[in-house]
Symmetry: C2
Subunit: 329 residues, 2 copies
């Protein structure tokens, strides 16, 4: 199944069921008012939602065209947002970039930070940020939306808690990152609101693109229309089962919590990068200094996950412009 959320300026928006080819949709309405509600009541609602999805794909419903420009994030707010750093290629490079002390247990215990989850951005929303001097960067990622997860779940059972797969941009402010890391308290100002592609999909929609708790799609990133990277999500060093179990080691996760992969990153240089910071540290390695600057107001970033060599991706497209935030009135 494929879902999106109509932006109606409420906290949770309105649930849309989207056709497999992303051309049309219907409001889920009485079946489930919001995607958060659907995830919270999945066992009761799944069969009805699937009947509706099947009828939509068969052309049996009075549908409307699907317009991702009217979409919020699939979950405009979520109970938790915990973002891993599950691609060790990226983590190893970033350690060099930040000049911070070696991270303990990097290869055996997932890195994960707690993010804000009250104010996600939609796929075409402008991204208001206070200053170009903050080192504005994108991070292309995948994520999963989970069911209720019990404390202490193991990785295998954790994977059974995955309800939906999403594609996201974990906006980052690099000028703040190293200082916040050195405090030991982790990222806060370095992580403004996260953005999401319009469509959340059940894992079965990914076919062979979902296996081993990993999304085996390539994430195509362009910055101001120039290709920047197309790393494949299959290279995750930890799978989503490991990441969910890590997050739930000492707490329950409530239905709708989102767990992210961290920046998609491949060992092959030919794959490019899904964030500027990674390209910069490669430039430092190759040339002794970074050559690429961070984003400026007016810059655009586009992200789309696709099967290699195939057509449109399952999640739709993130395409956003960074703008200067207005000072508070």
């Amino acid at each position: 199944m494929k879902f999106a959320t109509l932006q109606d300026h409420t906290l949770d928006g309105r649930l849309l069921i989207v056709s497999r080819d992303l051309t049309c949709c219907v409001e889920a309405g009485v079946l489930a008012p919001t995607l958060l509600y659907a995830v919270q009541h999945w066992e009761e609602l799944e069969a009805g939602l699937r009947r509706c999805y099947d009828a939509l794909n068969a052309g049996q419903l009075a549908s409307q065209p699907f317009d991702p420009r009217r979409c919020a994030a699939p979950l405009p707010r979520s109970p938790q947002w915990c973002d891993g750093s599950a691609f060790l290629n990226h983590a190893n490079l970033m350690e060099k970039a930040f000049g911070t002390a070696p991270i303990p247990d990097l290869a055996t215990i997932p890195l994960m930070y707690q993010g804000a989850s009250d104010d996600f951005l939609g796929p075409h929303d402008d991204v208001p940020l206070p200053s170009e001097a903050d080192g504005i960067d994108f991070e292309g990622e995948f994520g999963v939306i989970v069911a209720n997860v019990p404390m202490g779940v193991d990785a295998d059972r954790a994977l059974d808690c995955v309800r939906l797969v999403v594609q996201l941009n974990d906006w980052s402010l690099r000028a703040m990152g190293p200082r916040e890391m050195r405090t030991g308290f982790g990222f806060l100002q370095a992580k403004p609101s996260t953005s999401f592609a319009p469509v959340a999909v059940t894992p079965d929609e990914l076919g062979s693109g979902w296996s081993d708790g990993r999304v085996h799609l390539q994430l195509e990133v362009t910055w101001n229309e120039a290709p920047f990277g197309q790393p494949n999500g299959g290279e995750m060093s930890f799978g989503f089962g490991d990441l969910i179990a890590h997050a739930a080691r000492t707490r329950r996760l409530r239905a709708g919590a989102i767990i992210g992969t961290g920046t998609v990153s491949n060992a092959s240089r030919a794959a490019g990068s899904a964030c500027i910071a990674e390209r910069r540290v490669i430039e430092v390695i190759d040339h002794g200094a970074p050559r690429t600057g961070f984003m400026r107001f007016g810059d655009r970033v586009r992200m789309e996950a696709r099967w290699p060599g195939a057509g449109a991706g399952p999640f739709g497209i993130i395409e956003q412009t960074v703008v200067c935030a207005q000072a508070p009135a």
Copy 2:
């Protein structure tokens, strides 16, 4: 005004308006179903809630006895939970305790971590945790519940966004803290669900106990009925205005977000401590090694904020028992 939330096993519970002396209450019902709703619609609802509160205090309403044992946290879930470390006396001691590198800008930029906000515990809920080996500790704190806060707000205006003041226990697992700090990604497993005293109060209820964006009450902590500390909240090195502005530097905060002080801590040794870790580091300083162990299953902690020398405090009491979490089925 004073508010509490009846635990009814929904995500947000049901709003209670509580009398000033905490003896009786009425369900807010049609005025506002939940405290989260009240905070989200404060401008429209405040006058009506205050009329009801005044009538309750005047004995003009058919009220019921107030039973804190039936209460959830005032906000069982909240949009964000950002916890500072605003008592430098504590931060300086903990730096020694954790043996981590010196924290940069400690005296000028507030320390703050992002916590989970989807699953808060009520004042008398048992606290299920997976293992005594994790170094189970309490942290007695104050916090504020805010209105919508714009990105980039300054500290003075931030203070105007305070809607309610709360008292809380930021449960901590000390065995995980130093490792998570060294990763730079901050606390995740080290911070299980946070607990709250039953009653959230508007700042005016604190009288002279609310000034300079600080709560000038002493927080009386007992562990297994033995006095442990009674530090005063007035010694905050950063006020709530500073903490809110720090949290909102690169993001909006949605109405209902909670900002915490971190462990209340006083320079005077006579005040004792509001967490075990702080007592342990004082023991290391005095005796070369810690003498106090962390909590065991079955241990009880009680916290109540009071005016020095006066009777019952404004927030009610947190009184909880730590229990062994059941393994997931």
